[in-house]
Amino acid sequence: MTVANPELIAAPAPAHHEASERGALGWIATVDHKRIGILYLLTALFFFSIGGIEALLIRIQLAQPNLHFLAPETFNQLFTMHGTTMIFLVVMPTLVGYANYIVPLMIGARDMAFPRMNALSYWLFPFGGLLLHFSLLAGGAPSAGWFSYAPLSETPYSSTLGTDYWILALLVLGIGSVGGGINIIATVLTLRAPGLTIRRLPLFVWMTFITAILIVLALPVLNAALVMLLVDRRLDAHFFQATGGGSAILWQHLFWTFGHPEVYIMALPAFGMISEVIPVFSRKPIFGYEFVAGSTVAIAILSFGVWAHHMFAVGMGHRADVAFAIGSMAIAVPTGVKIFNWIATMWGGAIRFTTAMFFATAFLMQFVIGGLSGITFAAAPIDWQVTDTYYLVAHFHYVLFGGTAFAIFAATYYWFPKMSGRLLDERWGRVHFWLTVIGFNLTFFLQHFLGIMGMPRRVFTYPDLPGWGALNLGSTVGAVIMGISVLVFLGNMVRSLRSGKLAGDNPWDAWTLEWATTSPPSPHNFERVPPVRGRRPLWDLSHPTSAKTSDAAAHDERARSEEKVPDKSVVAAWSFIVSETGFFVVLILTYVFFNVSTTASAAALDVKTTGLFTLCLLASSLTLHLAEKSQAAGKGSAFRGYMMATIVLGLVFMGGQAHEYVSLFERGVAVNTSLFTSTFFTLTGFHGLHVTLGLVALGIIAGLAFAGDFRGKPSGALKAVGLYWHFVDVVWVVVFSVVYLRNVL
């Protein structure tokens, strides 16, 4: 194939052909990352309107003291649904939606690494949303708050099915998010255009990548906690109920182990959006790229070490409070310095105040307010005073709305032309911006004062104390203004889609690769991916003299020697294994936590028999290894034979587990007998589920092998399934040592 312009590098062939499908089926069956991204965004917009209406109902109820517009129980359901909806059905899917649409374009790829898994991750999202809202038809929505603290979320105190649907919905959403996270990791690591080294990644891609790592690490902790709560609720166990020896505090620890990284899952992509918008509209490269990128990693790591600052009020003791206060203040440093990076980028730049830039600028100011009130919470004594008051409500809305939502608005005005081919109307954009700023600050700035005056959140009404009525009324008026601003935004989008100004390829004169293709991009994204020789490839393209400095050439040379592209299946398998490790670590630690003081209960287990079945499972790892060797050596029949041996050994192990369960049940030992049995059945049961899934995967591989696949060439799928199977075996070795061998020793 001849390349017409030697400056342009030919992109690889399209990965799929379905994108040409038209009509509804074309959208439902799509595996095109751009369509999936738009589906994410539209579904999130739909849930945003539901969550917004819930917020308005809450604000109407609180407009005046002693109102009875809503019943207390309805109020509880509304704030629970509002929080859950906004976090899991609006902010996360919106950020994932933008990642889906923009990241492959920014790195010059055709699609995500796994287009079909991408579609699955998306469809789990509306499914989870439906499950959550189905609770309304099944006896009432969940009402224990978005973090469902035990024991309030346990059956005695939340007897409707609402919390059960909440658990199921979050599990489904969590699985979808982990799938999406793995996909983003594999995409960024394996599909970058030539020359686009990690050092040159656009900051939105970098921050989305770090967010994906956070998702893969943090969501399994929530999933593990959720299944324990579900076992409590449906099978009468007592993980989180003090009455049966369980620990309600454990739920808080597990929830916030997930919950604090979750804050950064919702903030980092927003930082990435701001880091794209501000430089482009300031006509300057970002100030301190290295710091912005590096400090993101610091934030991600620290975010796992500071969750206990959500629990100062629970009575952990001074020592723990001090440690976590220090950690929490430390995490504010890398975040705070980023603000200076953005300001320094604007400093001296030729700023163009488009609507996107307006939103980005407002983000800076409001995020600083939210950040500062956050630092006040890091001081434990202040936290004791104002936690669970409207001061807290004000704080996190300044972070999540004043911060993340404003960044999303900025990103929408910035990327809408790329996605639709038409610019959003700037005049209506200004109206939208000012209404949002005024409405938002009116609503939430006043709540700082209400909180300091002592008004608790999550209570359906309040007495007529001096000032409370007026401040609340102001807050409600602000909420109504925000509601109107959303209508203006929706109207602007509809109007601009029909008759907006045509955008052209690069309306903002921006620098990253997504602007090198048409608006909207063709199904295969790029005819040709421009060469990447720096962090601003399109700027380099239009300034050829300064682009190819000796430095950049040297960098290219390094890039070629350094950046080996890993196999995407292996990257995905490892990411999945890391995620699953998190899940099992939580279950194992919970087992240890509840059973460390006694080995008496575990004495009922038959160590010898289980030991024999353990040997079978270990042997299956060996046979699978031999199968992989035979496949690599091209010995087809040996490969198939070893695969079958692996499956048989796996089945024997599962038979052993079934036998053990049956004999325990016959002796009257059930999940709810004691904390030991609850932890035992949950841990070994979920391991068994993983073995079963591994057997299904092995079965598919074996079936394909008998149908003539895997001849000669090395296979990513085989490697991935192999890694997973070995992982499941390693987990069992740990479980067997912790649960069974501990009694013998």
Binding site: I198, R199, H253, Y289, E290, A293, G294, S295, V297, A298, I301, L302, F304, G305, G317, R319, A320, A323, F324, I326, G327, A330, D551, A554, H555, E557, R558, S561, E562, K564, V585, L589, V592, F593, V596, S597
Partner: protein, 267 residues
């Protein structure tokens, strides 16, 4: 001897013995002799490492670690694994060779050092070993030596003076992050464990007469003591790893020119 106040404790509870000062003198003398004529400001790091080694073993930290306070033991433990070894490596001259020549496998270069670093944290907190080290001087000597050696093994791929002995910075980031997670999990277990990790610290043999000060003056009940120990491992240790990760990212972004060293390191 009875110790009543914190000042007295800080002033009087020093127990250098014979071995520790001799080791420190040998370490400093050996360094000065070996790198005679090539001393740079990096020597300060080395001196700091030796000083911290001395503090960890001979100061009240070391004295309290011998059976009095689990938290003092933990501080000593962290100094010996997370402070002394990296400072030693930083203190060596830039051309100091810390490994044999030749390209090593990923297992030798990544897996074994990582296991050494994480093992140093975990193994010595198994109850029998922890108790033995708290009460028997011989076991404590073995513990100290093994912690420093395992710490050096862990930090060498990160901080080796010659670039060709180090792993690529992005891999180092993952290496450190995984170590941080493993260390955090241990910290969480120690902090939240309903049973004591080292039962030897429950009933100290109070030769100094300092126990009333520790228990009542400092408020260090057995439970509080273990909690502080766990929190030390959980939060400050994590900050050490996080700082090292930032340094690695700084190194990654600072690498502008191609060099044979890193090209080889990536293979």
């Amino acid at each position: 001897m009875t110790i009543h106040t914190t000042t007295e404790l800080l002033l009087e509870a020093w127990d250098p013995g014979f071995v520790v000062p001799i080791l420190c003198v040998i370490a400093l003398g050996g360094y000065g002799h070996r790198y005679r004529g090539r001393l740079t400001e990096r020597g300060i790091w080395y001196a700091l490492a030796v000083a911290l080694f001395f503090v960890a073993l001979a100061s009240p930290i070391g004295v309290l670690a011998k059976g009095y306070l689990f938290s003092a033991h933990m501080l000593q433990h962290l100094l010996l694994v997370l402070a002394v070894p990296p400072l030693v490596l930083l203190g060596l001259p830039r051309d100091a060779q810390t490994s044999s020549e030749g390209v090593r496998s990923a297992r030798e270069q990544v897996a074994l050092p990582w296991l050494a670093g994480v093992g140093a944290m975990w193994i010595w907190h198994a109850r029998p070993l922890c108790n033995a080290a708290a009460t028997l001087p011989s076991v404590q000597a073995i513990q100290t030596a093994s912690l420093v050696v395992m710490g050096l093994a862990f930090w060498r791929p990160i901080l080796a003076p010659r670039a060709e002995d180090r792993m690529p910075p992005l891999l180092a980031t993952l290496y450190l992050f995984a170590a941080c997670v493993a260390c955090t999990i241990l910290g969480i277990i120690v902090t939240l464990s309903p049973v004591e990790v080292c039962s030897a610290y429950m009933h100290p043999d109070d030769a100094m007469g300092a126990l009333p000060l520790l228990r009542d003056g400092w408020g260090m009940s057995c439970k509080a003591d273990q909690e502080v120990g766990g929190l030390l491992m959980w939060v400050p240790a994590c900050l050490v790893y996080a700082s090292a990760i930032l340094a690695m990212l700084g190194r990654y972004y600072a690498e502008e020119r191609p060099s044979l060293a890193t090209a080889r390191g990536a293979e």
